[in-house]
Amino acid sequence: MKAAIVTFPGSNCDRDLALAFEQAGARVLRVWHKDGALPDGTDVVGIPGGFSFGDYLRCGAIAAQSPVMAAVRAHAARGGHVLGICNGFQVLTESGLLPGVLMRNAGLRFVCRRVALRVATAASAFTRGWRAGQVIHLPVAHHDGNYVTDADGLARLKDEDRIAFTYCDNPNGAMADIAGILSPNRRVLGMMPHPERAIDPELGGADGSVLFRSLVEAAVAA
């Protein structure tokens, strides 16, 4: 199973994300934002957290126009899996791969702490290792995680069971406590919390490992 991890200028969680995929048994290939194609046989694309292009204009807006994102869009259109975490989630909404937008936290503060999340659906390759309704713990670290979409968009996310994670105690004002959402084909996940920072019990918990193992197993089975 091959995971391609994209690095933009300003990405800072790319190595952690690579480690998390490797720990789960994936072969990791690193991709630079100027690359026009993904490596042959890429099963999953990982868009890491950080501050791509210094958050200029809007978080993720410039990265969404990088050459590699055309290849990522094509990968998603073929039914490939894409995981965007934190700034990666912002890049996915700016790319149009996921609906809505991540706005400045309602409290205006950068929030950096471990939070409790409810797994809202187990029906995806990312979340099938948990039970729907299960509470897990992952770190968040962001200034712009306040998920906003229009009323129709929110109704669609709910009706189609595409809300992946919700906050138990909303840290940023996100609509409907949304922490992560899935694409209509359930193969693109964007989430603000950092599962790649929770893959070792010695370092504050290993709940994040479940996501990477589930994803690797799903890709191997497919």
């Binding site: 204009l57 706005m103 205006l108």
Partner: protein, 79 residues
């Protein structure tokens, strides 16, 4: 040709930054500030010489990059 693009939040979209500015103005003694909405002004120097073509091009820039129309609206001035 020069273009000015004003990007502002759509009505109904909460602007926590504008709200913080409003609070700060109150603290400074400026009473009677009912609301503050913060936006962006983007100035573009264009090679184009045709006004209509320049406007169309800048609008395309807004749609593709300069504004996120989910939450923002934009206005273009050509000078």
């Amino acid at each position: 040709m020069k273009a000015r693009v004003y990007v502002t939040l759509r009505e109904g979209v909460l602007d926590p930054q504008g709200e913080a500015v409003r609070h700060a103005l109150g603290t400074l003694g400026f009473s009677g500030v009912n609301a503050v909405r913060q936006g962006k002004l983007i100035e573009i120097d264009l090679a184009a010489t045709d006004r209509a073509a320049a406007e169309a091009e800048v609008k395309a820039m807004c749609e593709k990059l300069l504004a996120n129309t989910v939450i923002e609206r934009y206005a273009v001035e050509i000078a």
